[in-house]
Symmetry: D2
């Protein structure tokens, strides 16, 4: 209906924007369930075919979305119940989750831009074990099975002069982890999803996604190891929000010549291209949700002995 390029990193929103007929598209399956105790709604979008991938604008794979309204609010336990929920969903997507593995966690984004600092801030609170286990063995942690966790904050191209993908690829080749978990701040289409949704996918990171657009692909194809991506939408694209407001208006006022109007406004939109919209309390929110994510990863990485 619209010519505007609507941008969302959430598979959930990509699916919503497909019209009803299309949503029964072959090749896309959707499962939903509600975790009452934690007040978390989980939606799994499984894109099974290339056709479906094309229609959705997202690659073939599994996209788990946890909607957790409580996440934006302060909590003295940092929403441990949501962290536990995240740990479970993460382990389901992790290949070979029962085996001891070497896991490299990559915190994408720019520490100096608050809305883009989810990745770096998550990495700050991880329990890093690789160097200890390599030096002292698992005995150091007094348990039989133990994942080796390492972490990398590659920074952004404006400060490194290198693509994030170049840095990650180099480190992956040198340290040979079994799997990557990549954390990134995302762009949502709807303000209502900001900071209260976690998306976990086994498709890795696609070029052009994320708040900063600072990446090439980080995928099993490009890196040679499976890549699980964990993201939380922290911004809305400025162009998206304006186009959404306009579209709503245009739908209501039938007399308006949509196509003519869109053409006239195209140029105006270009100045919005490098802008995003975020909340005024984004510092407190990122501090809190990054802790929820890091604890989720910490819980998932501690392997149970049974």
């Amino acid at each position: 209906m619209s010519n505007f390029q609507v941008r969302t990193d959430l598979a959930l929103e990509a699916r919503e924007s497909i019209s009803e007929a299309d949503s029964e598209l072959r090749g896309v399956r959707v499962e939903e369930y509600y975790r009452e105790k934690e007040d978390v709604k989980v939606t799994k979008v499984m894109i099974d075919t290339k056709n479906a991938a094309k229609a959705m604008g997202k690659p073939v794979g599994i996209y788990v979305t946890m909607e957790a309204p409580a996440m934006v609010e302060p909590d003295e336990d940092y929403h441990r119940e949501i962290s536990e929920c995240l740990a479970e969903e993460l382990l389901e997507l992790l290949p070979d989750a029962d085996a001891e593995q070497s896991v490299l966690v990559v915190g994408l984004g720019n520490r100096e831009v608050t809305a883009d600092s989810l990745g770096p801030q998550t990495v700050d609170n991880l329990c890093i074990t690789r160097h200890i286990i390599r030096e002292y063995g698992k005995a150091a942690y007094n348990c039989e099975r133990m994942n080796q966790v390492s972490a990398l904050e590659p920074g952004v191209m404006a400060r490194t002069g290198m693509e994030t993908a170049e840095i990650v690829k180099g480190v992956v080749e040198e340290t040979a982890p079994d799997v990557l978990i990549v954390i990134d701040a995302l762009a949502a289409r709807s303000i209502k999803r900001l900071n209260r949704t976690i998306q976990i996918t086994n498709t890795g990171i696609q070029p052009g996604s994320g708040v900063g657009n600072h990446r090439n692909a980080l995928t099993v194809e490009s890196l040679g190891v499976p890549v699980i991506a964990v993201g939380i939408p922290t911004v809305v694209d400025a162009a998206t929000i304006v186009s959404d407001a306009l579209e709503k208006l245009l739908e209501e006022e039938k007399e308006v010549d949509v196509v003519k109007y869109v053409g006239r406004q195209q140029m105006n939109f270009s100045e919005l291209n490098n802008m995003y919209m975020t909340g005024k309390d984004i510092d407190a929110v990122i501090k809190r949700v990054s802790f929820t994510v890091s604890e989720g990863i910490n819980i998932a990485m501690e392997m149970r002995m049974d």
Copy 2:
């Protein structure tokens, strides 16, 4: 024409939004000049009467706006020519600029939210002299006349539990400076003014202005000492940008019932109230412009011996 509350902290924009007839409003004088060497356009808006103040939505006083397009771009000297320009304009507004004075510079805003960190980052690069002069005398700086410069970063209410005005008032009463210079990030109406405009005013800070809305009044009335405010617009209010886009559309399409539409959208706008729009490279921009401002103040504070 529109019922939307359009928000701008810039007197320049407030004046532009007054229709032509009104702009010859008695009580508002405007002077403009262009500094060719520095490529800076200076506009002085002088609001002389209460009536004019009411029409403009800004208190009686002088508002100097420096438009410096170069400011957003990297420069190995950190735009020293713009700093010198700022120093001159600042000294013109400073009462008793020829006398030795004790000047307290207050860096408003939230260091943890990039777009709101202009004040704190400016304060980081100031040349602080009050404690040295009080301990060792002016001899320490080898000059005859010397201002005593002190600086305060009061933080934001969410982290202190106190109004910024309470903290500043207490410190002013205890340390008795002759004048305050208050630095803050501002909201502009137009994306084109972001990060390339400096506003200097002798009216101090009004409640509800600034990126974070984190302040009560900081004025000569509330504090008992003159307050010069220096600000740079770093964000555009989300509600403003959407309303501007709509208004433009509505103006063009006469058939649309503006009033009806505005009424219907009111509710949607409320969710934009605590959001702002900013650029993706805001970290590099703030680092740069805060240095330009701090150098401007440093230059102004070094008193010439003649």
Copy 3:
């Protein structure tokens, strides 16, 4: 025996350095107990008379020292049991602990110098309630009684040009809290006490103590409200550690002419005066212990309804 000025901010160490005969000094009472569950040894030194204060080099008052060896080690609950222990001891020293109070927490020290950043980092994790309660009443927290907590990070003189005491006094006079809790990094004499000891005292802060020496007095006499100081030793003075090593040697080698030697070395020591010694992992340690302290204060401030 020695002419060296030995510096310690810990009453516990001040007492140890008094020779045996003196330790039965009238006017000093000592109580010790061991909290087995938390593995915390608590020592209360009560200095009751001016004579005793002079001998100890510490003002009249109560000094509680919690020795908690576990505190330096990582813990997924951030040593909540030590926080609870701290909350109890804090409430014992707090005047009127049963009444609703307005409490200003002051984080002393320099955020930019890791070993001196205990105060600022503690303040970062406090639960700030004053502004909420003043705006919405206690109902906002759904409980009958509630302390109003505010927080201040005054910064250091090199960056503000003002004495910490000036800033704190101004803010106290303007916001009228009932009591102050002041957090600071301390200097210990013994490396063994670093980062695993918490001292709580009702004497406030004395000039010349702390890592940065950045303060005048913050006491009930200077501010007009009671001041509880909470500190953790994070550094050893360089001069102290060298003098301790020498003294030990000199005690063992009787032939050495101590007095002559000390005289000769005096000058060499002066270059150590602005130096301190700290551990290489001080960043991780401060992050951890500041969280333990902030949680202790948070627990103490939540008033129980009975």
Copy 4:
């Protein structure tokens, strides 16, 4: 004379600690000159043979030391003359300095530990050009010849779980720079050299050097590209300073049985092993000297057109 392991990262100090006879050691050449305008004393120690390397405890190569007493003091131009001096010395050690090159600058150390943050803070102020030149060509900078500068802050093992050398090696292999410039904070033996000495060497980084001991070798042998190391001593090892004080005493008092004493104290020293000594104003010092170093590199990297 002493059994203590005296630690210094400065070749200048290593040479001083060799007794007079040894200092005419074959295989070590020393050149000195004084740059009057900049008040910088330059000493070049050239270690030419393996024997000499063994005696000095430093590998074969060239070590340039710039002693610049002014560097610790504030300066409104950030000591640009010292930066220019550094640029010249750097270019002399850089292989193929006349050719266009791709240069990767690595900022070693821990941003969170002030005394160890020279590398990360230097990297913050570099002029990064690689991504621009690769995207837009040299035309973007309007000059004929231009180095491609990229930068990496690998972080420390406690936070990454990886050796710095692993990360650097991976990135070098992936991005194929022609040469590395590695920045690190160093340990000096003498307090008098702290923060006013720059060492530049073409030997790269050796295991066990630096403030944090956080590295394996970063050398042409380990990485396959030449490595220039630039360092400034910011700390003195705690064990070194105590042993120096003792040694001085022991030399003077011949009656003391040195060997016996040293044996007895060995154990005590072990608790000093992970400690270092630094100045109380280390934050201001590092901010200043890191800027001097980054500007030196920026100047060296801008290739002259002749």
